[in-house]
């Protein structure tokens, strides 16, 4: 025992303890695991969690606390689920800049999808929460675009505008434009409610409903969506259209009227 105690400060001690702990938990699981398949998954899973914990300590712990319990600079991440991590990190919102304004903006994502999955696995291990949706859940197969439009106008349009072009909220906060946001991230945002967006969990907005909404957004607000009238002016509705009409429409008419009545070119200078 003394021999072991003497080596407890050895640089590799932590690793050895960790490995032993992993072996122990893995071993315990092997004993209690219902099937052999789950056993394989779980040991891979615990490695992923470890990797995620390492990434977390570097990129997230300064604000969210060393164990995800949250600090004055960032909320607790216990129970937010893997879906929240995948959304926040995948859209580049997290890690946020130290001095952010009223809202953390979308920016370039600096993590690979594998790293995001590791981080998500670690956060999910802190407390149960929504999992990362599969393509089957958010994919376009079998979605009802018309129903999606109805649901979007009931639940989302008040902030994100009728075709998902976004809009302003209080004190500099805003609902972002949804063009170009991947279906997975839209699904996760509805599921988890990032920042000031309310969540629309499974219990009030079913998986099928979410799929319909995503299909609707793909139809009206993507690079391939049609705009039969052309010249949308941002799709913001009467404000931008009125502004354009008054300034460019009427302004153009006045300019032409002035030009028509102006002196014509003369044969010689007086």
């Amino acid at each position: 025992m003394k021999k072991l105690s003497a080596r407890r400060r050895h640089p590799l001690a932590a690793v050895v303890v960790l490995l032993l702990a992993l072996l122990f938990s893995g071993g315990l699981y092997a004993v209690f695991a219902p099937t052999t398949k789950a056993e394989a998954d779980e040991s891979a899973q615990s490695l992923t969690i470890e990797e995620g914990k390492r990434l977390y300590a570097v990129g997230c712990a300064s604000c969210h606390g060393t164990g995800g319990q949250g600090t004055s600079d960032g909320p607790s991440l216990v129970g937010v689920g893997a879906a929240a991590v995948d959304f926040q990190v995948g859209t580049g919102r997290m890690p946020a800049a130290t001095s952010q304004g009223p809202q953390v903006p979308k920016k370039k994502n600096i993590y690979s999808q594998a790293e995001i999955d590791q981080l998500a696995a670690y956060i999910a291990s802190l407390g149960a929460g929504p999992a990362i949706p599969t393509e089957e859940q958010y994919g376009p197969q079998g979605a009802d675009i018309a129903k999606g439009g109805e649901l979007f106008r009931t639940n989302c349009a008040q902030c994100h505008n009728f075709t998902g072009k976004g809009g302003a909220l209080t004190h500099g906060k805003y609902a972002p434009d949804l063009e170009g946001v991947s279906p997975k991230h839209i699904y996760e945002a509805m599921e988890t409610g990032p920042q000031n967006m309310p969540s629309f969990p499974e219990t009030t907005l079913s998986e099928e409903n979410k799929k319909d909404i995503i299909a609707y957004l793909d139809a009206v607000n993507s690079s391939k969506s049609e705009s039969p009238g052309g010249l949308e002016l941002g799709g913001l509705g009467p404000v931008s259209e009125g502004l354009f009409g008054w300034i460019f429409g009427l302004g153009g008419l006045i300019a032409v009227a002035v030009w028509v009545a102006a002196r014509t070119a003369k044969a010689k200078k007086s």
Partner: protein, 359 residues
């Protein structure tokens, strides 16, 4: 441009004389210009356009005008051709506009060109070929000739005398009475514009025991369905979208349901009327009745998109910004024996904007 700069041959005769006199007599001498310090300077000299002096230029202008009219004709033909040839549902990509309807674009373009070229041709014609000599047209007094005025006044006086309106007072007074009363029939007809609102503004479909039905799934809500930070819209049980009165009823009964941690609810009555932190508020803004549901789940603020009235849902939906005059009405809710959320009565105050008789 002062009159001195104008070559003399271009000035009106009188003006030219005045200027000349002034120049000849010099300072201090009595001249017609001194008698009229604000004399009419007359029109500036007329200058000829290239087209007025050069027949070749005029021909060029004529050809340009004719070209524009011809383009207009071609565009009209193209309009008809596009109308016939392009299918309604064909979509094309045009760079700054995106994916747009080919038919709309073609019809708009050709009709626009056809109309524009007629206008542009006419303007070009007027500016380069029609006469551009300035013409002054004197104004005439608007007063009628004295003889006409005299005749009209005399006729009026004679008419007044012959009608004996001043002498027969009974006729005059009854006529005034009749003329005053006649418009009343028009005022009375206004009553037929619609039924009186009676107490419809004070009541909604909500009543004791009515279940809260999720607008998305059409299923009654259970407390466990409503997560903290989520936003749900509900309608009263029994109101279906195909109902004749659906729009009228939902416009008053629309409900916004959020869940706030009970310890974060500041208003005592709000907490009492909630169920485990689930609060139900009217979705209709108390300013002018816009549907209001821009809910920020971290601040619990609800913003109205029309005039930016902001309500704090954690403090009795108090108005914290904007023109709204009342807090959003709260619906008292509870749970029935089967575990579903139900209303414990109607809203206690009228929903939506204030009205005259509200007090």
């Amino acid at each position: 441009m002062s009159s001195q700069d104008i070559p003399e041959e271009n000035l009106p005769a009188e003006q030219s004389e005045q200027t000349a006199g002034h120049d000849e007599h010099g300072h201090g001498a009595l001249s017609p210009a001194d008698e009229h310090p604000f004399a009419d300077p007359g029109l500036p000299p007329h200058e000829h356009r290239i087209q007025d002096v050069d027949e070749r230029a005029a021909k060029r202008s004529e050809r340009s005008v004719a070209l524009m009219f011809t383009v207009s004709m071609l565009a009209t033909i193209a309009f008809i051709a596009a109308f016939v040839a392009i299918p309604v549902d064909k979509s094309v990509y045009i760079f700054p506009l995106g994916h747009i309807s080919a038919l709309n674009f073609a019809l708009g373009m050709t009709l626009g060109i056809a109309l524009f070229c007629i206008g542009a041709g006419a303007v070009h014609w007027a500016r380069t070929l029609m006469s551009d000599v300035e013409i002054a047209d004197e104004r005439h007094p608007i007063e009628a000739e004295p003889e006409v005025r005299e005749k009209v006044f005399a006729d009026f006086k004679q008419g007044a005398k012959e009608s004996a309106l001043g002498r027969r007072k009974l006729i005059r007074n009854t006529m005034f009475g009749a003329l005053t009363l006649v418009p009343l029939s028009g005022v009375v007809l206004l009553r037929d514009l619609g039924p009186l609102p009676e107490d419809k503004l004070r009541h909604t479909l909500w009543s004791k025991g009515k279940l809260l039905v999720n607008m998305n799934t059409n299923e009654p809500l259970r407390p466990s369905d409503v997560a903290v930070g989520s936003l749900t819209f509900a309608k009263p049980e029994g109101l279906e979208e195909h109902d004749h009165e659906f729009q009228n009823e939902i416009a008053k009964a629309a409900l916004m349901i959020v869940r706030i941690q009970p310890e974060n609810i500041k208003d005592k009555r709000e907490l009492e009327w909630s169920h485990e932190g689930i609060v139900a508020y009217s979705k209709i803004c108390t300013h002018v009745g816009c549907p209001i549901s821009l809910y920020e789940q971290q601040t619990h603020h609800v913003l109205c998109p029309c005039h930016q009235s902001t309500f704090d849902l954690s403090d009795g939906a108090r108005v914290i910004f904007g023109p709204a005059g009342h807090a959003l009405p709260q619906l008292r809710i509870g749970v029935n024996d089967e575990g579903y959320l139900e209303a414990r009565g109607d809203f206690e105050e009228p929903v939506g904007p204030a009205f005259w008789e509200r007090g």
